[in-house]
């Protein structure tokens, strides 16, 4: 008898639980259903898109942008891959990650007839091996990694190449980007190898060279390296050209140079995630960003180079002729594009750990 009572009580509980769960699910579905059409999830590099641009997009289209940022391709890739792209609409990977992600089916092929402003892009930056015919990616910005220094502390002309940073005069005064590939690229440039090498001997040689610069390093940072130059925590170091441009607007004594061994070049592209929910919004956003006035605004604010020829025409002379933002052909001598190093990645990682651990 008692047992029976208990059983029926459990049954009732189940029924109650079920109603509760079902109603919760319905509630969740209705919220998701209502919110879906007007939000767009954009996952972009930190300090890479002015807020004003996002606000204007929302004003024009009524689409709310849910915006979050990352500071390395690897971090973005890991997150997107774990959820198979679900929950993200637009991403901005660098070239070699466009390649990787398109091969792994994490991206959607683009219908370029929906992008009325596609023709504004510089044809020289299109149809590259990492994405033939730009089936998956639309160039967003490109830039370089070079040397920045504070003219108040370092005489101009003293730093012309990566190797100059090894000078003991900079003891405990340098910033290196907290990015394994960037730091190793510098080491490989100085030892005379390609920044995309997969040969362990060359990677080891770069590591041994880099171990010698460690006493000069005050801080590793890739989140907001320019602030360390502005607060005069460091007097020189590696920096991205856009960060250097932004810093020089606050303090004109911060200068950017293209090292004689060659800078590192990269390009980031807008792509649509395979799991994108708001396709229409994603296309509208890409087309919006390709609009000359908008692309110009982005370039002016963040200081990286635009692939958008129509936008460059609109730029004020002093930005267009600023070598930090638009390098000359001579500046770009010896530059190399970073590519995927595939199976050599753990080798780099191991030497990166040795470098940081100091053994």
């Amino acid at each position: 008898m008692l047992l029976n009572l208990r059983a029926s009580a459990i049954c009732e509980d189940y029924a109650m639980l079920r109603t509760l769960l079902v109603s919760l699910l319905l509630l969740g579905a209705s919220i998701a259903g209502a919110a879906e059409p007007q939000t767009l999830v954009v996952y972009n590099w930190a300090e890479y898109l002015p807020k004003k641009v996002l606000q204007q997009f929302t004003r024009e289209t009524g689409i709310k942008v849910q915006y979050s940022t990352y500071d390395s391709n690897e971090a973005m890739y890991t997150k997107v891959k774990t959820v198979k792209g679900e929950g993200y609409d637009l991403l901005v990977p660098s070239t070699y990650y466009v390649d990787r992600m398109r091969r792994e089916g994490l991206l959607q092929p683009l219908d370029k007839s929906r992008l009325s402003n596609f023709g504004n892009l510089n044809p020289r930056l299109l149809n590259q091996p990492y994405d033939p015919d730009n089936q998956y990616s639309i160039p967003y910005l490109w830039g370089t990694t070079g040397i920045a220094y504070n003219e108040a502390k370092v005489a101009s002309g003293k730093l012309t190449g990566w190797a100059d940073l090894w000078d003991p005069a900079y003891k405990n005064k340098l910033l290196l980007l907290n990015d394994m590939r960037e730091v190793f690229s510098m080491g490989l440039k100085v030892t005379g190898y390609s920044i995309n090498t997969t040969d362990e001997n060359q990677i080891r040689a770069a590591y041994e060279k880099l171990a010698e610069i460690m006493p000069n390093v005050r801080v590793f940072d890739a989140e907001s390296p320019k602030t360390k130059f502005l607060s005069q925590e460091v007097m020189a170091g590696m920096l991205w050209n856009g960060e250097a441009y932004q810093a020089s607007r606050e303090n004109p004594k911060i200068r950017y140079v293209y090292p004689r061994e060659g800078a590192m070049q990269w390009m980031d592209s807008l792509v649509i995630s395979a799991g994108a929910k708001n396709l229409d919004g994603a296309y509208r956003f890409i087309d919006f960003v390709l609009r000359p006035e908008i692309a110009k605004q982005i370039c002016e604010e963040v200081g990286y180079s635009s692939p958008n020829l129509a936008a460059i025409k609109l730029l004020p002379e002093k930005v267009r002729n600023n070598p930090t933002v638009y390098p000359s052909d001579a500046d770009l001598k010896n530059v190399e594009f970073q590519t995927d190093v595939g199976a050599a990645l753990p080798v780099y990682d191991q030497y990166w750990q040795r470098l940081k651990a100091g053994r």
Binding site: D13, E74, V219, F220, Q232, E233, P346, D349, G358, R359
Partner: protein
């Protein structure tokens, strides 16, 4: 009896669901992943290996582990040296002040420790608050290099973890029977002897609990070393994060975290045993 049954089911069910879904399963996944191999296109390849644990024996990783232990240990010792007198004074305050002072110890918990670490950056940086005050007072001519140094890291850890030391110490010190101290004094014991032979043994559970509560989180707080130390050193926490985020070697990252979990388990077991012994020792 009946009206309470559904509640009981819900409560127990929720707890079980929570523990299984958010504690048991994730840890099980990590444990299993630590015996698999690194995949090239997928995060893990389903092939059994002990190689990840073998790799941990590399002097590189042992050294890294020692560095992490060292930092956590220094922090714990400093927390104890600062926290003990602090907690003692707290118990000697009049009951009117005590709640207020305790509140002041707890208030920092209302802000995330990451945010508080960023606040430390603002205080310590070259053109930061501290340097500006010192320059303004004319005590220094050039800004001091405070940020991105070892003391900055230790200061940040100390700041984040001190309350974890103070609270358990306060709890045991408050219960301290002062008649025992008076008895010892009557029997001719000096200040130091009273402290060493009466107060310390009686508050040992608090000392151990506080040390565990500062040491274990101290092992994992790599962001303090990153933000205040300039990311120049590598700690166990960085290693695990990097394996998952940048090196894409999830199995090895899993093996490192399994090892860390086991080490923490050993420490907790040691705590359990020693606290049982300590409480037995006090019994008459």
């Amino acid at each position: 009896m009946r009206p309470r049954e559904p509640f009981k089911w819900m409560a127990v069910g929720t707890i079980w669901f929570w523990l299984v879904a958010f504690a048991l399963l994730p840890n099980l996944l990590v444990f299993v992943a630590s015996f698999l191999q690194r995949g090239s296109d997928e995060f893990v390849a389903f092939a059994f290996t002990l190689g990840n644990y073998q790799r941990l024996l590399d002097p590189l990783y042992l050294g890294l582990l020692l560095d992490s232990f060292w930092l956590a240990a220094i922090t714990t010792i400093l927390c104890l040296l600062l926290g003990y007198p602090f907690a003692y004074l707290l118990t000697r305050m009049t009951p009117r002040w005590r709640p207020l002072l305790l509140l002041l110890v707890i208030i920092p918990f209302w802000t995330s420790s990451l945010v508080r670490t960023y606040a430390m950056v603002i205080v310590l940086k070259a053109n930061g608050l501290l340097n500006q005050i010192l320059l303004g007072l004319g005590l220094i001519d050039e800004p001091l290099e405070l940020l991105y140094t070892e003391p900055a890291v230790i200061l940040g850890m100390l700041y984040a973890l001190l309350p974890f030391m103070i609270l358990p110490l306060y709890a045991t010190l408050e219960k301290l029977d002062h008649r025992l101290i008076e008895a010892a004094r009557d029997l001719g014991a000096g200040q130091f002897t009273i402290f060493r032979r009466i107060i310390v043994p009686l508050t040992l559970p608090g000392i151990i609990a506080g040390s565990i509560l500062t040491f274990l989180p101290g092992l994992g707080m790599f962001y303090v070393a990153d933000l205040l130390g300039g990311a120049k050193a590598l700690l166990v926490g960085n290693l695990i994060r990097d394996q998952f985020l940048s090196a894409r070697d999830w199995p090895f990252g899993a093996a490192v975290s399994v090892m860390l979990t086991v080490l923490m388990g050993v420490l907790l077991a040691a705590y359990y045993l020693s606290s049982r012994r300590a409480s037995r020792g006090v019994m008459p």
